[in-house]
């Protein structure tokens, strides 16, 4: 899936923080979005998933031959079209165990009905098998209990999104707070899913090594505008990027 945006702007209290004339994300499978602190990367991801309302402009989700305008729809409808995002700031459902978090994300909303109250069924074998699979690959201190450390919560946020099986995934600083080996495992899994055509991914990261290693294409955002985009090598050698971000 691809995201097209046009004249997309966001201002807080008349103070503009984002201004993208035209851009497309998701054309190259696994893409990176980099830029200095406060450039507007998280804001852009919030606008694209309708978590934040845009000041002006349009966003469209391209899915095969279909094009869905995202402006008129709400956050949960965006997710049900297949577009999901992981969060930079730690978010979670404190009262749900790790397994229940994953069950919630894996369960289709259409199955969460009043009629279902009578059969008291919270999951099915396919979902349980998938959860077991994820939990065998990623270790939690108490896999049948609650996510404890910040790192575990961050990982759970990513796993919730993966088990949802999105067609396009936006990841906002996924590795901040994760140990290196877990980061590598997550990224390898994401790369495999992109390769197999399950989804397209855009990653926001300050860890540039990771961007150069995994991304096929990189967008550079600075002061709310996309100033440059290209292959990792192009971006690495770009003078504007070097000046504005890499402190050369």
């Amino acid at each position: 899936m691809k995201l097209h945006m046009r004249d997309l702007t966001k201002a807080y209290h008349e103070h503009p923080v984002l201004n993208v004339a035209e851009a497309t994300l998701g054309m190259h499978g696994l893409e990176g979005l980099i830029g200095p602190n406060g450039a507007g990367k998280s804001t852009l991801m919030g606008l694209l998933t309708r978590r934040i309302a845009a000041t002006t402009g349009t966003v469209e989700l391209e899915d095969g031959d279909a094009r869905h305008p995202l402006n008129p729809i709400r956050s949960h409808q965006v997710a049900n079209l297949g577009l999901v995002k992981t969060n930079q700031r730690i978010q979670g459902f404190e009262s749900l165990t790790i397994r229940d978090n994953l069950r919630l994300a894996a369960t289709a909303h259409a199955n969460e009905t009043y009629r279902g109250v009578l059969d008291q069924n919270q999951t099915n074998d396919a979902i349980e098998a998938e959860i077991d699979d994820y939990l065998s690959q990623f270790t939690f201190a108490d896999p049948d209990g609650f996510a404890k450390s910040g790192g575990e919560k961050k990982l759970l946020d990513i796993l919730r999104c993966l088990i949802f099986k999105p067609r396009m995934l936006l990841m906002d600083e996924p590795t901040a707070g994760l140990p290196d080996d877990v980061t590598a495992k997550v990224m390898d899994m994401v790369r495999a899913k992109v390769k197999s055509g399950e989804m397209t991914v855009v990653i926001v990261e300050h860890d540039l090594e990771l961007i150069w290693n995994y991304c096929a294409y990189v967008h550079f955002l600075s002061e709310g505008e996309i100033l440059f985009h290209g292959t990792p090598d192009d971006v690495k050698n770009n003078r504007v990027v070097a000046e504005k971000y890499m402190g050369v």
């Binding site: 949960h76 997710a79 999901v84 979670g92 009262s95 919630l104 199955n111 009905t113 109250v117 949802f164």
Partner: protein
């Protein structure tokens, strides 16, 4: 006896209200501080339709349900997108409006003069009260079973997730507003139905029945019992209303000069109990981590040790009795 049945019936009504508040606040995080508004609306609607329009209880209740669904749905649409503090204020305002309408709309409600008499739905001479009590009991048991099932369902899990982090739940494809408005409409309507059922219980309605202290009593019960626990509402009402209103007020041997201060003491005890529980056990007596199975296991263990104890007691009693018998026989023989 009649008074005891009345008190027990009222206690069931309170349990029902607390159960509904448990779904609204305990599961979904909607702080409805207008419990008495929904209850009062249902009560007056049934009363007015019966007394002023001469409708039967069943017809009046049917029409009242329609009225309640419309009222709670539109109120829900107005307030459920707001912040929690705003919901709290709006629901208090709603209940204040209902209380005010009961006073001002005299052509309907008879104002402060009062509206009566509302007849019992079960017209079996001498058995009306007890039949009505049994009907309420059946209703509360059914609602309790449904709540226990809700806790183990997908919908229940989604409600908890919505309470914890609504935005995150929405970002995983859940229509959280829909979940909230449907549940709110349903539970607020049932609060009103419980009000409608209180009409024949009270028989004579006056506006000063619609007082905030009912809302507070329901809240205190739920918070005491455990707001997130499926059985918290029931336990909380037992501890507050059951203990104070029924046991102490009705049965404790209180001399007449103290009888006047008992209701005030009750509020004091409610408050003290609430503070105590909140300090030592902020989630209420029944923490959400205590499973209903644990409670029934504990109860049955208690019951079986009790039975075993009673059995052993019987045995030793029988033994003593036997010995006595044998001794007497010996004495007789001698």
């Amino acid at each position: 006896m009649a008074y005891l049945i009345f008190s027990l019936s009222l206690m069931l009504i309170y349990i029902g209200l607390a159960q509904m508040l448990h779904v609204q606040f305990g599961l979904l995080g909607i702080p409805n501080f207008g419990v008495v508004g929904f209850w009062g609306l249902g009560m007056y609607a049934v009363g007015v339709m019966q007394v002023q329009l001469g409708m039967s209880f069943v017809d009046a209740m049917g029409l009242t349900v329609v009225l309640l669904v419309i009222a709670s749905y539109f109120l829900g649409r107005l307030i459920l997108r707001l912040e929690r503090q705003a919901i709290l204020c709006a629901t208090i305002a709603f209940s204040a409006i209902i209380a005010l309408l009961a006073v001002t709309e005299k052509w309907m409600t008879m104002g402060v003069v009062g509206l009566g008499t509302i007849r019992h739905p079960f017209r079996v001479l001498g058995l009306e009260e007890i039949l009505f009590f049994l009907f309420l009991l059946a209703l509360i048991v059914v609602m309790q079973i449904l709540i226990l099932k809700l806790h183990k369902s997908r919908l229940g899990r989604l409600m908890v997730a919505t309470r914890d982090n609504e935005e995150l739940a929405a970002s995983l494809g859940k229509d959280t507003f829909q979940v909230k408005i449907v549940a709110f409409t349903l539970t607020a309507t049932i609060m009103g139905v419980l009000g409608g059922l209180s009409a024949p219980l009270n028989q004579f309605l006056t506006p000063n029945m619609i007082v905030p202290s009912i809302t507070f009593a329901v809240w205190i019960s739920l918070v005491l019992g455990g707001k997130e626990h499926a059985l918290g509402a029931m336990l909380g009402v037992f501890v507050t209303f059951g203990l104070f209103d029924i046991l102490i007020e009705t049965y404790a041997p209180v001399s007449p000069e103290f009888a006047v201060v008992v209701p005030n003491m009750k509020l004091f005890f409610y408050g003290a109990l609430l503070v105590g529980v909140l300090v030592f056990r902020p989630t209420g007596i029944l923490d959400r981590k205590i499973k209903p199975e644990d409670i029934s296991a504990a109860l049955s263990r208690g019951m079986s040790t009790g039975l075993a104890g009673a059995g052993r007691g019987m045995q030793s009693f029988a033994k003593v009795a036997d010995e006595k018998l044998i001794n007497r026989k010996k004495e007789d023989d001698q």
